[in-house]
């Protein structure tokens, strides 16, 4: 007999199966992450020590160290940000505050999106041909940074735009209303209010730079030595025009040479960096949202 009651709800078999599949999918994603992080830590941590982190590899002493690659990575991060932040933030300010909607803005938006879709190998080839050969910069940290600028530009532009959009219009009206010029308003009101969002974008870009490898192979090259300081530290500047491999490149090279211990050591260092970057971006974005709610 068919029962018609609200209390004895029929559970559909299919629903249970569907729930099972959905939970399994999520479980799989987690397992992959835990597996990767766990395995890298398991293989990498035993290899981390002071010598590994603070010296350069020496065939003479038979020691391995990644200090040179860490310094190269820092060089690339700083150089790239120095070029990309003004460009990216400027572009976002233009798109958000100056430009009127139309063909032009659509073109800029389309190219910015295109830029974020181009694979890093293509950037690598372009950097090699344009910055390396045409501009005669060769394999150097500068070539690498210029190439990476193109990669992180969309990230910075997009995040700055989001942050600027989140600034309430009353701020703009208020500032302009008491006689501030546009640039003065941007400088003193908009940019400070949008700062957490902009910084979040910058940190995300640092993450991108740290993880990038294909674009750097043919542009920045693969040195692993620390910069020679020279008499007046001029060596630090000269290094910009010399080749140098970042951590990811060194990881790739040690993988090719089947030096897996070094590879896992570097992988662990990279993971820690990426994790730190992730957490700090989250913190900043949260802060921005809280600020927004308060307003």
């Amino acid at each position: 007999m068919e029962q018609r009651t609200l209390y004895k709800k029929k559970t559909r078999q299919l629903d249970i199966i569907a729930y099972g599949i959905i939970y399994f999918c999520a479980f799989l994603s987690i397992i992959i992450l835990v597996g990767i992080v766990g395995y890298i830590s398991y293989r990498g941590i035993p290899y981390i020590n002071l010598q590994f982190l603070t010296t350069e590899s020496s065939a003479l002493k038979g020691t391995t160290g990644i200090a040179g690659n860490i310094v190269n990575t820092l060089y690339i991060i700083i150089l790239t940000l120095l070029i990309a932040i003004p460009l990216g933030v400027g572009s976002a300010i233009y798109l958000n505050e100056y430009a009127r909607p139309g063909r032009l803005v659509r073109l800029i938006k389309f190219t910015t999106e295109t830029l974020s879709g181009i694979p890093s190998v293509v950037f690598g080839l372009f950097g090699y041909v344009f910055f390396g050969t045409t501009l005669k910069l060769g394999y150097s940290l500068l070539t690498g940074s210029l190439t990476l600028t193109l990669i992180i530009l969309p990230l910075i532009t997009r995040n700055t735009q989001e942050a600027l959009k989140a600034v309430p219009d009353s701020y703009r009206i208020g500032a302009l209303g008491i006689g501030a010029t546009k640039w003065y308003m941007i400088r003193t009101i908009l940019l400070p209010s949008a700062m957490p969002g902009i910084i979040a974008g910058i940190i995300l870009s640092v993450g991108r730079i740290v993880g990038e490898s294909a674009a750097l192979m043919f542009t920045a090259g693969s040195g692993h030595l620390l910069p020679k300081l020279g008499q007046y530290f001029e060596g630090l500047l000269k290094k910009i025009l010399q080749p140098g491999g970042t951590l990811t490149i060194e990881l790739f090279l040690s993988m090719e040479k089947a030096k897996y211990d070094t590879a896992f050591g570097i992988a662990f260092v990279l993971l820690v960096m990426v994790l730190g970057i992730n957490v700090s971006t989250k913190y900043l974005l949260n802060k921005m949202n809280v600020d927004k709610k308060r307003k």
Partner: protein, 314 residues
């Protein structure tokens, strides 16, 4: 006098600053246009010569890749096929899992679980691709080798790859595009108006029925966007699969050692010269063309999504 309190004078200098600021920001914004334009031009300029030198037919439809032989041969048909087949396989694996996880995050999971799974997926997206490659070599390849030994025990003419094959590369790619698929699908699912779900539930449908029959179809264009973005990432990935795929230009069968468009460039760029190098540029150009096509599709899909999105909210 210099320190006059003239309103007009002050305004003029201010106006100058204003105009300069405007121009500088416009230049910054144009940099992206300029960059995409010059990348396109340079990729075409450096990619075309080899097509004439070797012959379009020989490059695009030749199957033999022997750049270092006495009579070099530069056929990249298998390389192109590998990129296409490998990408499609990776997407086929990744999309169901990704959409499933997105449903989990958007509708099925209790809050505390979401707050664990979501950061985990963000972290997954941030892991550098070389690390995926490392894991692939150390864990996936030996596993594939074991499977290979069992599967091909009876076929003596099989070329053993030691586990570096298309399947390994596909799995690595699938994992790498998973975060993209999950994130975009999740936001697509979340942007479906709540009243759709409410109406469906009120009519007596179960949550699962609502998710699969109401929410998923409404989020279709967003999920298509996720898939296209996933395809773009998979086509462009290089470092993670260079070591894992085996790197011989073979027909893309699961247990063959294969070479992708990206890995061909990465593997040989460092020592290639003359014609060989120019052919690598051509490969880069083909890759670039693929990505541009994907971008255009993406643009179309997103526009359509926006339109149907506004319709939904009406």
């Amino acid at each position: 006098m210099n320190n006059s309190f003239s309103v007009i004078d002050n305004n003029q200098s201010k106006e100058k600053i204003e105009r300069t600021a405007n121009i500088i920001f416009a230049i910054c914004a144009f940099f992206a246009v300029f960059a995409v334009f010059s990348i396109s031009v340079y990729m075409i300029i450096s990619g075309i010569p080899a097509l004439y030198e070797v012959g379009i037919k020989e490059i695009l439809f030749g199957t033999l890749w022997q750049p270092n032989a006495e009579v070099p041969s530069y056929g990249i048909l298998y390389v192109i096929l590998t990129s296409v087949v490998g990408t499609l396989m990776a997407v086929l694996i990744s999309v169901p899992i990704g959409v499933g996880t997105a449903i989990f995050l958007a509708y099925a999971a209790p809050k505390p679980l979401v707050s664990i799974v979501k950061p985990a997926i963000e972290l997954l997206a941030a892991i550098p691709s070389v690390i995926y490659g490392l894991i692939g070599i150390i864990i996936l390849n030996p596993l594939m080798y074991k499977i290979e030994l069992i599967l091909f025990a009876d076929t003596p003419d099989h070329q053993y790859t030691g586990g570096s094959n298309l399947l390994s590369a596909v799995i690595v790619l699938a994992v790498m595009i998973l975060p993209t698929v999950i994130n975009i699908s999740e936001s697509a699912l979340k942007s479906v108006p709540e009243k759709f779900a409410d109406a469906s539930l009120a009519l007596g449908a179960t949550r699962i029925q609502t998710i699969f029959k109401v929410i998923l179809p409404s989020a279709k264009s967003g999920i298509v966007t996720a898939i296209v973005l996933g395809v773009g990432r998979a086509v462009g990935e290089a470092m993670a699969i260079t070591m894992v795929a085996g790197n011989n230009a073979n027909l893309p069968l699961p247990f063959n050692s294969v070479r992708f468009l990206t890995t061909a460039v990465v593997a040989e760029m460092s020592y290639a010269t003359d014609t060989h190098k120019r052919v690598l540029y051509t490969i880069g150009l083909i890759l670039f063309a693929f990505i541009m096509i994907i971008n255009l599709i993406l643009n179309k899909v997103m526009k359509k999504g926006l339109k149907s999105g506004t319709k939904n909210s009406l």
